[in-house]
């Protein structure tokens, strides 16, 4: 640290410059982490919150499973009777267009989750009454409530202008960036088929998937084969949320490039710095400093710059992210922010370590001016 600290003080302009670059990368890292988390929440928070271990879809469905799968009453009953299955209930999912009742009522998009009103999937309302209280009642998430929808409001939804009554609210829940509402399964079926009047008997025995709570280690392959389903673990269903996979991979790619650029920028700076210090390094070797001593000193210098700049950048990113929170899908999670900061520091150190390896090649003889 003897030289490292004094160099930092002496060449503070140069180190402030690279520090500012690293800090700005840290700001971007925090913002991208927040956006990635926010987009993920906006895409799959409702799936994450489902009290299930697996979902069983129609085996012929692929890709966006929630819009392509249909399962029947026989299927969820059969699933409920299988060994290792603790709970099995129908789950309906449908994106519908709705409008608040009354002249000039606000138009809304709803991600409707249809569940048995007294089943294990039915959420406990944060305010208002439970689903079992009203066959046309729905529980709206905070995302819908933010649009001005409140308990007691009436909506008209779907192609058949199905009337809905808001009887309660739940916390945050969205699916494919659309606010979620919970509805009784029979109401969901009306919205799903969009037919006026009573539904045909076959339609009343259908849902999107079978929601499962399986005992640990319970096998599903044989049951799937027998019942014509495809069982997916809860986390596996996230990819079925509209746009989730594309968004996640895009954000991961951007962040990957950001960190790679960071390592290259830090590495480049310390390469130039090390080349500029050739004569000083030669002098240190000539007066008896080991290569290890010089490397330790140089890497300490890098670590100080990276840690200070990353900390400052992360703090600025958090402040900026907090301000963005209302206008963008943005969610900051301590673990992710810490991981992003550590990754930035580690990659910067790796880049600099490659750069300062040049120290090993400097000859003490240079101090005598032998190559002048």
């Amino acid at each position: 640290m003897f030289l490292a600290v004094r160099d930092l003080r002496f060449a503070r302009g140069r180190f402030a410059l690279i520090g500012a670059v690293v800090a700005m990368i840290a700001v971007l890292g925090v913002i991208l982490s927040g956006l990635a988390s926010g987009l993920a929440d906006s895409g799959i928070s409702s799936l994450r919150a489902l009290p299930v271990t697996h979902l069983a879809f129609d085996k012929s469905a692929s890709g966006e499973l929630f819009s392509r799968s249909t399962v029947t009453r026989d299927t969820w009953r059969a699933w409920a009777a299988q060994p290792g299955v603790r709970e099995a209930e129908p789950l309906g999912q449908q994106l519908v267009h709705a409008q608040l009742s009354g002249p000039g009522g606000k138009q809304l998009d709803l991600a409707v989750f249809g569940v048995r009103p007294t089943g294990f999937l039915a959420p406990a309302p944060a305010t208002g009454r439970p689903l079992s209280a009203d066959p046309n009642g729905i529980l709206v998430s905070e995302e819908i409530a933010k649009d001005g929808v409140k308990v007691g409001d009436r909506l008209i939804a779907g192609q058949a202008d199905t009337p809905l009554t808001v009887i309660g609210t739940i916390g945050h829940a969205s699916f494919g960036h659309v606010g979620v509402v919970y509805a009784p399964l029979a109401l969901w079926q009306k919205l799903h088929y969009g037919l006026p009047g009573a539904l045909p008997p076959a339609a009343t025995g259908q849902a999107t998937a079978v929601a499962l709570r399986l005992a640990p280690g319970a096998g599903t392959a044989a049951i799937d084969h027998r019942l014509g389903t495809r069982t997916v673990g809860k986390a596996g269903t996230y990819a079925a949320s509209p746009g989730y996979t594309a968004e996640s991979s895009t954000m991961t790619l951007i962040r990957g490039f950001l960190y790679a650029i960071s390592a290259l920028v830090v590495g480049s700076f310390f390469t130039v710095w090390t080349i500029q210090r050739r004569q000083e390094i030669a002098l240190l070797k000539a007066i008896g400093a080991s290569t290890g001593y010089i490397l330790r000193d140089a890497l300490t210098q890098v670590a100080v710059v990276l840690l200070a700049a990353t900390a400052a950048g992360t703090a600025a990113g958090l402040a900026l992210g907090g301000a963005m929170n209302a206008s963008a899908p943005f969610a900051l999670k301590t673990g992710q922010v810490t991981a992003a900061a550590l990754l930035l520091t580690a990659l910067g150190l790796a880049g600099a370590a490659v750069a300062v390896r040049r120290i090993t090649g400097v000859q003490a003889l240079t101090a005598l001016g032998a190559d002048r």
Binding site: F2, L3, R6, A286, A289, L365, L368, G369
Partner: protein, 239 residues
């Protein structure tokens, strides 16, 4: 005593016994094939504690190579280099570095001070490198700064010092760990006459005060009278 010895022969026993720096039949060839040059050709030399040897000669005669080999910065093609009783040619590079740290001080042509350190910190650097940065080292640094007349400028950085002041600091830095051998490379090349005289007299004085075996290479014939002995180097040979 300070002695040149005939090419290819060791120094006389009486000299060798007292010498802390002894080069025996040292040859250094640089390059390969047609490009090969002989920088040192069977050089023998021994310097006792408290003696100040000046080596002069034209450019390219091998003066800097002599300092490089004597300090273990370069390994000779042939011959031995004893510093404080250890033959540097038998040591690995990291061992030579460690031996240099404790037994050899270098004073460089342009002082070679580190831009970020104050004059006092330049002196403390070798102590930190050697893991001996304690109160005693700080006291000795202050004593040496006083001895070279730099106490009042101790908190200045190199760009705030004159060429002569930088050389004084360089000399004091080389003496901090009380090396047995002091190797000095063209210390007056960037100085005017008065400053050059001042520095070389300081060198002679410090050599006696600290009983170092000092070897100075220089082009400057006007400062040679400060040395105890003067040798001339031509085509890699000492005469």
């Amino acid at each position: 005593m300070t002695h040149p010895t005939p090419a290819g022969t060791p120094a006389p026993d009486s000299t060798a016994a007292a010498a802390v720096l002894r080069l025996t039949d040292v040859t250094l060839r640089l390059g390969t094939g047609q490009q090969q040059v002989t920088a040192l050709d069977g050089v023998g030399l021994s310097v006792a504690p408290g003696r100040f040897l000046a080596v002069t000669g034209p450019s390219g005669s091998g003066k800097s190579s002599l300092l490089a080999v004597a300090g273990g910065l370069q390994t000779p093609t042939r011959g031995s280099v004893h510093v404080a009783g250890v033959d540097l040619t038998t040591l690995k590079e990291h061992q030579r570095t460690a031996h240099r740290r404790h037994h050899i001080g270098y004073v460089f042509q342009h002082a070679n001070l580190l831009a970020s350190l104050t004059a006092r910190e330049q002196l403390l650097l070798p102590a930190h490198v050697a893991g001996r940065l304690d109160a005693a080292a700080r006291r000795r640094a202050d004593e040496l700064l006083d001895a070279v007349g730099m106490t009042a400028r101790a908190d200045r950085r190199p760009h705030q010092l004159s060429g002569g002041e930088r050389q004084r600091v360089g000399l004091a830095r080389a003496l901090l760990l009380a090396p047995e051998v002091l190797l000095v490379d063209e210390p007056t090349s960037a100085l005017d006459r008065a400053r050059a005289r001042e520095i070389v007299e300081l060198l002679a004085q410090q050599t006696r005060a600290h009983r170092t075996a000092t070897v100075m290479v220089t082009h400057d014939t006007e400062i040679l009278d400060a040395a105890d002995h003067v040798l001339v180097m031509r085509d890699g040979r000492l005469t």
